[in-house]
């Protein structure tokens, strides 16, 4: 199967292509240097061509996504579309059904999406849903930050055992990377408490969040995992938390990267860049956070942009969600995953005229506009915490047009003028920078830049074509066209197959699931398993033999093999 895309205005930042008319040849699902004359030709007609979108942080599958569906039946009243000859029925806006997840991402030109948090014990559920999400490639980050074995090995300062545990946990969950959510806090929530910063001691385990973060970064690099530690900071969602965020980011200096990427990815920074001491003097500190990123190359972040309207907050940060539910008088669901973290789900409605919401909205945009290098600030909405992913086009339009931002600012609470820098920011991102924030940058942060996020020879043939002619449009003025084009791709090509044409799904192949098989020395594994066997005997409600996700649950795996690399460990 050969395909040739002609006359596209290609934006491929990794390969230095900025809107040049470049032909793209595709054979057997990969981009190649040329194809035969028998290739099917798609004439892009001067329209915008980018690699397929890559999302590094979105809650698309698993236990808490499903809890969101169960506790929000009202959400299924929107986004309803009946089945067609090739698509299944869709429902929902903030917590759509599994099929809609795949179709809607593909319709936006996205072809790879990573679920941001799965507990090992709940991983089977995650994979059951991932298996049903059509079209896109996917994977899931596994939670380690408040797991009992993690904290035990951190206290013992035994990095070999911790590395063996992480490797085994990734295998058990068929996971892609190390997620760390409010480290220590998830455990303290079991006692109705939380940690307030990175130096609080977690009782019984006698470790601090700081020690957990540094240790996980060390073993992440020992194992040479494709992605870095993916951190949801302590103190998230509290005014004044930017200090905790900056202190956490500084921990990255203690560890050297094993690959050409960051050693720490701090996620949904919108919720972590807050100044003030309470909701009254709440203000943006996005400038401080962006400034740190501008001066350091070992940390990356993503926006977690907020979208006005309905959202469903869902996170492994159990204590935060209890506080949210109390604050909002909202529905609340709490989850306790035995020895592995907690979780909570709370619906929220973001309102333009509520000052805190308006300030939050502006913080997300400030982060993107004040961070100079787009490789360090990825575009996300922390779906569905900041808002559903279907609104990425709105975020893109806001970043590309100061005019649109100024129009929006007029409609939101006036607090943004006093508490944010956004009204004075006139930076407008170009197509290359957008391509980095949604493709090349995300792929690089995930450690997948060899095959994802670019259009060079050897890359996966994941391509999106949008109905805009970059040389004939002024995104600053014609922001409505930008939004409309990025909402519905003219073409989405996944693995060399046209899956979307003119915004309509044309084919629904099943994508692959990425997971990492990390090898450690056998004796480290054996030592570590002695502790794990004890944990299962004494505390877990299930048997060790029933714990691991079997291969049957991952029918289209894409396994990345890595292994322990000796590095200096204190």
């Amino acid at each position: 199967m050969e395909l040739l895309i002609k006359n596209g205005a290609v934006f491929d930042p990794k390969n230095g292509i900025k809107g040049d008319k470049t032909d793209i040849s595709i054979k057997d699902g990969k981009i190649v240097s040329n194809v035969s004359s028998k290739a099917t030709v798609i004439d892009a007609g001067g329209r915008l061509v980018m690699a397929g979108g890559v999302d590094a942080h979105s809650h698309i599958a698993g236990a808490k996504v499903n809890v969101g569906r169960m506790m929000r039946p009202e959400d299924t009243r929107s986004g309803i579309s009946p089945r067609t000859k090739i698509t299944r029925p869709c429902t929902g806006y903030t917590v759509p059904n599994v099929y809609a997840m795949g179709y809607r991402y593909a319709q936006m030109g996205y072809t790879t999406v990573f679920e941001a948090a799965q507990a090992i014990m709940k991983a089977r559920h995650t994979h059951e849903e991932l298996e049903e999400i059509p079209i896109i490639d996917k994977g899931a980050l596994t939670l380690f930050g408040s797991n009992w074995p993690t904290m035990d090995f951190v206290r013992e300062k035994n990095m070999d055992k911790l590395a063996a545990y992480v490797a085994w946990g990734l295998l058990a969950s068929r996971g892609f990377g190390v997620k760390c959510v409010n480290p220590g806090g998830g455990e303290m929530w079991g006692f109705g408490k939380n940690v307030t910063g990175i130096d609080d001691v977690v009782p019984v385990f006698d470790v601090t969040p700081k020690e957990i973060i540094v240790s996980l970064m060390k073993v992440n690099e020992m194992l040479g995992l494709p992605h870095s530690v993916h951190l949801h900071c302590n103190n998230l969602g509290n005014p004044g938390n930017y200090k905790t965020t900056l202190a956490s980011m500084e921990l990255a200096n203690q560890v050297k990267a094993s690959k050409d990427r960051q050693v720490m990815h701090v996620t949904h920074l919108l919720f972590n860049s807050w100044g003030g001491t309470n909701w009254g003097d709440f203000e943006s500190k996005a400038d401080e956070v962006a400034n740190y990123l501008n001066n350091h190359d070992n940390v990356t972040g993503d926006m977690g942009q907020m979208i006005f309207g309905s959202a469903t907050t869902m996170t492994a940060d159990g204590p935060k969600q209890y506080a949210n539910a109390k604050l909002l008088h909202a529905k609340w669901s709490n989850g306790d995953v035995e020895l592995e973290d907690a979780s909570g789900v709370v619906p929220i409605y973001y309102v333009k005229q509520i000052s805190v919401h308006a300030i939050m909205w502006a913080i997300g945009l400030e982060l993107a506009l004040l961070t100079k290098d787009p490789y360090k600030m990825l575009l996300t909405t922390d779906h569905p915490n900041g808002g559903p992913f279907v609104n990425y086009s709105e975020v893109i339009a806001l970043l590309m047009s100061n005019k649109k931002r100024q129009e929006e600012i007029k409609t939101v609470h006036e607090a943004v003028h006093a508490k944010n820098k956004l009204p004075g920011l006139d930076r407008e991102l170009d197509f290359s920078e957008i391509a980095i924030m949604t493709r090349a940058g995300t792929a690089k942060v995930l450690g997948l830049l060899d095959t994802k996020g670019h259009l060079g020879v050897g890359a996966d043939a994941d391509i999106s074509i949008y109905d805009i002619k970059p040389d004939q449009i002024d995104p600053s003025v014609e922001h409505a066209k930008i939004k409309s084009a990025f909402s519905n791709a003219a073409y989405t090509i996944k693995g060399g197959q046209v899956v979307v044409k003119d915004g309509q799904i044309t084919a629904t192949p099943l994508g692959r699931t990425y997971w990492v098989d990390a090898k450690v020395p056998e004796e480290h594994h054996t030592e570590m398993m002695k502790d794990i066997v004890k944990k299962f005997k004494n505390y877990y409600s299930i048997q060790l033999a029933n714990y691991m996700v079997q291969d049957e649950y991952v029918t289209h795996p894409q396994v990345i093999k890595t292994g322990a690399i000796p590095v200096e460990v204190n």
Partner: protein, 252 residues
Amino acid sequence: MQTVTIRPMKEIKISVEGENISPDKFGGKTEKEIQSLVAWMGNQKTTIGDLFSVKVEGSGPAADTKIVLEGDFSRVKRIGEGMTAGLILINGNVDMHLGAKMSGGKISVKGNVDSWAGREMKGGELIIEGNAAYYLGAGYRGESCGMRGGKITVMGNALDFVGEHMCGGEIIVNGNTGILPGLSNNGGKIVIGGNTSRPGSEMSKGTIIVNGKVEEMIPVFKLEGDEAVDAVTYKKYTGDVVVGGKGILYVK
């Protein structure tokens, strides 16, 4: 003035989605146009003309349109959904979701209505001469607001969850109601002529008046003493204290 009379041409066994039976949809339309409006029957797409005989007299806008339903509509759902004006007269029983989301106009039913009548109603009037089933004037599954305005009057009895998640408006049930009327009431008024059980659980605002017997009170209310409403003396309670509610419950 436009009068539209519709009548089932045969017995309806599979439920019909009747959201197009509304003055807003019929107003100013000819018989042919009304007959061509969609009416799903189960998973089959049919039209009003396939199922009902339609007779139109005169012509006028929605506000000046009267719809008369003759015969058995007990398997027709969503009649008058979202209507903003006009009048619907129903001579028998109807299925679920009568007058859901209606914001104006009036619906009058001679018979009984099934569950969810006046669901998420915003305005207008609903008069039911028979009985109502569950979730009268309630919110839909998961929503935090049910009925927001307008008035529902039931001459007979109603089943459980009258005015669940109500945020405004008024419901009057002359007979008895099932359990938990005014559940999560957030600002509506409910008057019950007969008996009920466990009223006002989780209510944060609004008023519930029970003129009959309360078979069981949930222990989440604070007794404030006696108070007269329209020259009738009631015991006045406030609550639900568990949710910090400021709702008022009057019990004889």
